[in-house]
């Protein structure tokens, strides 16, 4: 066989290796979702969603878990979104050349790579002990806010970067100040991209388990939280707790709760993807 033929053979062989590897990844996702659906789908009914936790697997529900997740989602949004957007604006529009800005930039790259469990240790010392919030919703939300802040900042910066300079110059030309330009021109133009980053960050926050375990969130909370200072549990904690038990019935409960959690995660990611595509199409200045 000539060298040319061998090369052509390798070339087309790799094509099939590539397809096989890609399909393997997708198949894993499929198996994974299929397996969980088979195990848990039959368990989901209205009672499961509206019942308090229980020592009996057949009576246990996820009411405290999903309301806890909703609380965390709300509180984390209130804390992290304004901070993240502000920091993003500062880095992109104001601090371009300053030393502080470049220090913050290196720092954000670093923060994004710190394992989530380390944020848990930070939250345990600062929010749970020093500020004395205990294992409450507010301690959890503050910890998760610090965790997702880098994601929101990076997303905001990317979105602002994509806004053309001509838009800013036109605004300045009409006599607008820097802040007026940012508020009335840059932010509206960048809103799609910023929103994408926020949704992805929040979807990350509601899937986190490790930092919440470390700050002392409880797996068994027999009441629905009424204030940010109440103890809480969230869906991932509830899943972890159920899966850790030896009885098969609790495993089924875990699978059912996973379906709900995955549903929320995938819907959020879907919205983010849709926004990103729409925004990228729109932005042909």
């Amino acid at each position: 066989m000539s060298k040319l033929k061998t090369n052509r053979l390798i070339d087309s062989a790799f094509k099939y290796v590539g397809i096989a590897c890609t399909l393997f990844g997708l198949a894993m996702l499929g198996i994974f979702i299929g397996d969980i659906l088979i195990k848990g789908l039959m368990r989901i009914d209205w009672d499961f969603i509206t019942s308090l936790p229980s020592r009996k697997a057949s009576k246990a529900g996820i009411l405290t878990a999903w309301t806890g997740t909703a609380w965390i989602l709300g509180l984390t949004s209130i804390i992290a979104i304004p901070l993240g957007i502000s920091a993003g604006i500062y880095l992109e529009e104001y601090g371009k050349k300053s030393r502080l800005a470049s220090l913050i930039e290196v720092n954000i790259a670093n923060l994004a790579g710190i394992p989530s469990i380390i944020y848990g240790l930070l939250g345990l010392e600062i929010f749970v002990r020093v500020l004395n919030f205990g294992g409450s919703l507010i301690a959890g939300a503050l910890t998760l806010s610090l965790l997702i802040l880098p994601i929101i900042i990076v997303g905001t910066r990317e979105a602002i970067k994509a806004v053309p300079t001509s838009l800013r110059e036109a605004s300045y030309g009409l006599g607008a100040t820097k802040w007026q330009t940012i508020w009335h021109q840059v932010l509206p133009a960048a809103s799609g991209g910023i929103l994408t980053g926020i949704i992805l960050a929040l979807s990350r926050a509601i899937g986190e388990t490790a930092p919440l375990i470390v700050i002392g969130a409880l797996a068994y909370v027999p009441f629905v939280a009424h204030s940010p200072f109440d103890e809480f549990t969230v869906l991932p904690m509830q899943i972890f707790n159920w899966v850790s038990r030896p009885q098969h019935e609790f495993l089924v409960n875990g699978a059912a709760a996973i379906i709900i959690l995955l549903l929320i995660t995938f819907v959020m990611n879907g919205i983010a993807l849709y926004l990103r595509n729409k925004w990228q199409k729109k932005i042909k200045w």
Binding site: F32, G95, I104, L111
Partner: protein, 294 residues
């Protein structure tokens, strides 16, 4: 006019303050880890910590050697990387150099869904599907084992490597490939002798970030790899990683301020040191080679 200018200044300071919070976060993490670790090392000698081969802070016979936790972390991370690097790089090369455009833009977000799945779900999958599957054909696999956790973690970080590497390959100028094709090279030759070497810094960055991610991953190992700190490289056995140990202590009733409480910070600072090092290497590589082709 003057009022306006003051307002502008106030706004700028407010925005800068938000940026400062990220700096405070880092300082806070370092401060917390260091102060609690100082407390730990005033009671346990650093020699014992680094060289003792047993980690039993919760038993009556106490030993504080970090090595078993390190070997557990090393074992699960290595398995994950052995899975994720070949698959991730092949997928990246295939999607970037071979696949039709439509296929690429459909498959990439689907693969990225793998990274969006909460890690507690992967733990469930490792424990209830992968471990029984491994037990069906490998003798001696325990209920909790490093192999299952490592394999699942590997699948989890495939999209990190494939997406970032694919981005690096896509960022290469077209002229590079055209020159190679013009010389009569096949797609395979162009991909592996021109494109991959040219994008190598981006690919290496993606691998380093994936390693850091695997070292810091918690739920998969806590649920599937077990809580037996032992110095072993046998993937069929149960091990305990640094992260799983922190979870184990957090779930128990360890009084604040006790030596056992401080162990999670000593474990935490060890974990932090590794990921900090890897992150900085990747950041430096990215900065250094970023604009090579622009």
């Amino acid at each position: 006019m003057k009022l306006k200018r003051t307002a502008e200044k106030v706004i700028e300071s407010g925005l800068a303050l938000s940026g400062l919070i990220t700096l405070l976060t880092t300082l806070g993490i370092i401060w917390v880890l260091v102060t609690e670790s100082i407390g730990f090392f005033s009671e346990v000698s650093i020699v014992d910590f680094l060289f003792d081969t047993q980690w039993t802070p919760l038993f009556t016979q106490k030993h504080y050697g970090i090595l078993p936790l390190l070997s557990g972390t090393f074992l699960t991370t290595s398995i994950a990387i052995l899975v994720a690097v070949p698959l991730g790089v092949i997928i990246a090369v295939y999607l970037s150099e071979y696949a039709p455009y439509k296929f690429r833009i459909t498959v990439k977000p689907l693969l990225e869904l793998l990274a969006a799945v909460p890690t507690v779900v992967y733990g469930f999958f490792a424990l209830t599907v992968v471990t029984p599957f491994l037990q069906s054909f490998i003798p001696g696999v325990s209920t909790f084992n490093a192999l299952s956790a490592g394999l699942v973690m590997g699948i989890m970080i495939i999209p990190m490597i494939s997406s970032l590497s694919e981005d690096a390959l896509q960022a290469l100028p077209k002229s590079l490939r055209e020159a190679s094709f013009g010389m009569g090279a096949t797609r395979f030759q162009t991909a592996f002798k021109v494109a991959v070497p040219a994008a190598s810094s981006g690919i290496i960055v993606s691998v380093i970030l994936a390693i850091a991610r695997a070292i810091g991953e918690t739920m998969v190992v806590a649920m599937a790899a077990g809580q037996q700190p032992q110095l072993t490289l046998d993937p069929r056995e149960g091990v305990e990683t640094i992260t799983a140990y922190i979870v184990q202590v957090s779930l128990g009733d360890v009084p604040h301020g006790s030596l056992a409480y401080k162990t999670i910070f000593a474990a935490g600072i060890t974990l932090f040191a590794f990921t900090f090092l890897l992150n900085n290497i990747s950041y430096w590589l990215k900065k250094k080679y970023q604009e090579k082709y622009e």
